[in-house]
């Protein structure tokens, strides 16, 4: 079991404060909160003309000098033809928040005590606990692809607090996710329930100079939508050849 090494008092304090708040709250019954359940998908609702363009509208993250330097170095390596990620070659599991910015639909199933987001892309379901539990003791929190997520309702808004990421994913706006990263999301229905707005706020003093906030919107899918499974076969020569390492010098 790997322990989280929190490097700053800030990173330690936020989850603890959240835990105290969460414990003090009871579970709100289904009838009193919005129903987020169903299939959701992103669309080009900002008129960018391409799906990638929708992410380009997201504000650039204020990154620490160390991260900026690391990004420049990776870009330079890539420009030289070096491989900087073998994720697709080995079908590695996509980490949060990848599926939230992907074009594939994802599904919410909602109960009083838990919400699960089920993406089609190659990753695990994301469990959000609504029963008032706190985050686990940091000494026992084992990092995961989706992190440890607890949620509570503030009026018609679901507020989700996540820590415990394994780290390594990217975020829109040029940021990244590390083992000490703290994420707060606010889920809220708009336009009579046809649109789901999610506002992300990432905090990590080793990555961001200030909290990195942006909003993504999702449209409800057509009735009768059903889920696919995305399969990735690292033993398939085509997939395995999706990234070809150049001769090493």
């Amino acid at each position: 079991m790997r322990r989280l090494r929190l490097k700053s008092a800030m990173a330690l304090a936020i989850p603890l404060i959240w835990s105290v708040v969460a414990v003090g709250q009871g579970v709100r019954p289904s009838s009193s909160v919005p129903d987020l359940s169903g299939f959701w998908e992103r669309k080009d609702d900002v008129g960018s003309g391409s799906f990638g363009g929708t992410l380009e509208r997201i504000p650039k993250a204020a990154l620490s000098p160390e991260v900026i330097a690391a990004n420049r170095e990776a870009a330079a390596r890539q420009a030289r033809g070096e491989v900087v990620s073998l994720a697709s070659k080995w079908c590695l599991t996509n980490q949060y928040p990848f599926f939230m910015q992907h074009s594939a639909v994802w599904d919410i199933v909602q109960t009083d005590h838990e919400i699960v987001q089920v993406p089609e892309v190659h990753t695990f379901p994301r469990h959000i606990y609504l029963d008032g539990r706190p985050h686990p003791d940091l000494a026992h929190l084992q990092p995961s692809v989706n992190g440890h997520a607890i949620g509570r309702w503030e009026g018609d808004t679901l507020v989700v607090d996540t820590i415990g990421f394994v780290g390594g994913a990217g975020t829109p706006g040029g940021g990244r996710v590390g083992p000490n990263t703290h994420l707060v999301e606010r889920f809220r229905l708009r336009d009579g329930g046809k649109i789901l707005s999610v506002t992300f706020t990432w905090e990590d003093s080793s990555i961001y100079l200030s909290p990195h906030t942006y909003e993504l919107t999702y449209h409800t899918s057509d009735p009768g939508t059903y889920a696919f499974e995305e399969y990735c076969h690292a033993d398939d020569p085509v997939q395995g050849g999706s990234v070809v390492e150049p001769p090493q010098k």
Partner: protein, 246 residues
């Protein structure tokens, strides 16, 4: 719109880290036993786990040509799936412990997630039919629709692929022609969940193959696990498909 820029097959978006992730903590919550005659379906939601006495699995009656197959072939195929970290699908998904069942508040869908490396199961309970097989791409979990008969949830699944771990408890394997019917029912005041599985596949079974699992409600605090996997871990690959050391 071109979505290629953020395709999951694209190399640059995510740098992934492997980890065999942990259990943790919590839940139970809903899952009270059905009040007879209430008209409201029982709530199966919650975490459920298999214990040592959870399985009643008689040997399957296999077609002669299936029974005559070399068991080593199926074993090798299964180990290859594990070695390459493929997602496993049904029925293996139901052997995870714990599984998490979420019965959606609008009664239109039930999700089952597993601690194993497998996609979540979607069981549509909104009255829809199976998707036309002419347009449905088979998947490892198949296409599942459910309805209630009294206090029992009946789940009907077709549209299986040959992906993942295909072996079926008791013998035989899942094929694209397999048909699975499951019956979910709370017992012991909601502390246990009985699931009766019946597989039909004329190419595999001489007659329908039925077995039953009893899942025990997990302790409060149980949480989902993620078991990640690295297909590029060569030591792991050697362990799985190599000859065991003597």
């Amino acid at each position: 719109m071109s979505f290629d820029q953020i395709s999951v097959h694209g190399a640059a978006v995510v740098t992934v880290v492997m980890a065999c992730l942990s259990p943790a903590a919590a839940q139970n919550a809903t899952g009270s036993a059905h009040a007879a005659g209430s008209g409201t379906p029982p709530n199966l939601s919650g975490y459920w786990e298999l214990h040592f006495d959870s399985r009643n699995v008689p040997p399957a009656s296999l077609q002669p040509e299936i029974a005559a197959e070399d068991a080593a072939i199926q074993y090798k195929r299964d180990m290859t799936e594990i070695r390459w970290c493929h997602f496993m699908g049904v029925p293996y998904a139901m052997e995870g412990s714990p599984i998490d069942i979420l019965q959606n508040r609008n009664a239109k869908e039930i999700i089952i997630t597993s601690s194993l490396r497998t996609p979540a199961r979607h069981i549509y309970t909104d009255g829809r039919s199976h998707v036309n097989p002419d347009v449905f791409d088979p998947v490892s979990n198949g296409h599942s629709i459910g309805h209630w008969e009294g206090d029992t949830l009946i789940v009907d699944t077709v549209g299986f692929s040959n992906e993942g771990l295909t072996r079926i408890p008791g013998g035989g394997r899942r094929t694209t022609g397999s048909h699975l019917v499951e019956r979910y029912r709370l017992v012991d005041g909601g502390e246990r969940l009985s699931v009766i599985f019946t597989w039909e596949d004329s190419k595999i079974f001489a007659r329908p193959h039925t077995y039953e699992f009893w899942y025990y409600r997990s302790p409060k605090g149980t949480e989902a696990r993620e078991f990640d996997c690295d297909a590029n871990d060569q030591e792991r690959a050697k362990f799985l498909v190599g000859t065991p050391a003597r």
